[in-house]
């Protein structure tokens, strides 16, 4: 008998609709208005790679130890170095990073002994060409420069 009334008066349907209408109020909106509004990014977010430099002298922190290249599962990092005859130390010459194959696992960052290579919070790294995905040392030190959205 109760079941009959529930069926006739669509009790379950109304219960469901109550949930739907409870969330109609604008304060329940949870959509992010992305280009106009910057999204919240986690502090540890693994995004665009960056090669850190010493902020005072502008010299690179990288010691060209090649550990990141060895740690990378996709072998997409190539470190070029040459030995400075005066100081007898290896110095970084070139550094290429192929972001098109990168899966942002963070193993290179973990391997770096001097915190030179870092995956930053920049996430806007789309480019118009495949070649643009291969970043050289200059690009890695300066970071990507996405065109800002204007509304």
């Amino acid at each position: 008998m109760r079941k009959f009334f529930r069926t006739v008066f669509l009790v379950d349907l109304l219960k469901g609709l109550r949930v739907t209408f409870r969330y109609q109020h604008p304060k329940h909106i949870c959509t992010e208005q992305y280009p106009a509004q910057r999204p919240r990014i986690g502090e540890r977010y693994r995004g665009a790679p960056r090669l850190n430099t010493n902020p005072e002298t502008g010299e690179t922190l990288c010691i060209a130890c090649n550990l990141c290249a060895l740690a990378c599962p996709e072998n997409l990092i190539v470190v070029g170095s040459e030995r400075n005859e005066q100081t007898r130390r290896k110095e970084l010459t070139t550094f290429t990073y192929d972001t098109s194959r990168c899966m942002f696992c963070g193993l290179c960052e973990d391997a770096c002994p001097v915190d030179a290579l870092e995956l930053t919070q920049d996430f806007e790294i789309a480019t118009y060409s495949r070649e643009g995905q291969i970043w050289d040392r200059q690009m890695l030190e300066e970071g990507p420069k996405p065109t800002p959205y204007e509304c």
Binding site: R6, T7, V11, D12, L13, K15, G16, R18, V19, T20, Y23, C30, R40, I41, G42, E43, R44, Y45, R46, A71, C72, P73, M103, F104, C105, G106, L107, D110, L119
Partner: protein, 370 residues
Amino acid sequence: MAEATFLDSTELVLNMGPQHPSPHGVRRVILKLDGEKVLGADCVIGYLHRGVEKIGENRTYQQFTPYVDRMDYVAAVSNGLGYCLAVEKLLNIEAPPRAQAVRVILTELNRIASHLVWLGTHALDIGALTPVFYCFREREEVLTVFENYCGARLTTHAFRIGGLQYELYDGFEEQVKAFCDMFLAKVDEYEELLTGNRIWIGRLKGVGILTAEECKAYGVTGPLLRAAGVKWDIRKAQPYSGYDQYEFDIPTGENGDTFDRYKVRLEEMRQSVRIIRQAVDRIPEGPIMGKVPKVIKPPVGEAYVSIEAPKGELGYFVVSDGSPQPYRVRVRPPSFINLQAVDKMVRGGLVADVVAVIGTIDIVLGEVDR
């Protein structure tokens, strides 16, 4: 013999997919139909095959960890946990207690996220358009925890062999607790939306029945097996990562139909919240990384380790030849094996139920094809 006429033609072969919205991926089902009745279903898979097992043989043990996330990308944390446990077993070490507790919390959060994706998309397949928005809203909270913890939302790469890479961030406990408090009420809301809904019941009750014996014969595990009434969960049967310290129940169904699987998964989400609450309250202090050499070279031998992933038994069979690269990594994917039973489940049913059955198995094609 008289010439066959239009009325005599009883069997129709219908091709469903690969580009069909219901399987949430690319998979083709060849259906044999007699009118509305399904006579048989043949799955054609492999469209997403990337050779994960071959990649594993050509990477070092640590380098392979990010790849396992990309199999079941909805439950990447579970995949990572299974692989790390398998290699730890080969090395005969265990992660420190603090790492184990954090692993449990993240894995259970991932189970909730995975079930939410399933619930939303399954309801969408059946025709209930609302739940998907609510499910993804709550899933967002889980993904935010992942992002804050390890820096990625989907393919997390959260665990390392021997423990964890990242220490907990400030406010982790509060954020997880707040999620738990908020989430139970939301599960009740999903129930309000769906459980009593006459269309939902009509589409799910008695559809795609798989009895306990059939489940065992087909090797079907996870919520499908539990919905058939078998109280079996690897977290209880062969506890790993300290699951024996937590109190939780294994929900079971009675009929083994699609509706029971829905009920079981909803209850599993509540039990996950229960585990998370216990685990967050007592995260032990201590190191997060065990004693693992820089280059992992397990002794010659092999080990099979399985965990209870959201979709069923996820096993890793790792063979070591003493070198830094695994000699063979075999993944026992739950989706792949559960998908095999689709033919059994749709046979004799209506063609409209095929979508419900495929939805209820909760397959992720990245895991089926690897």
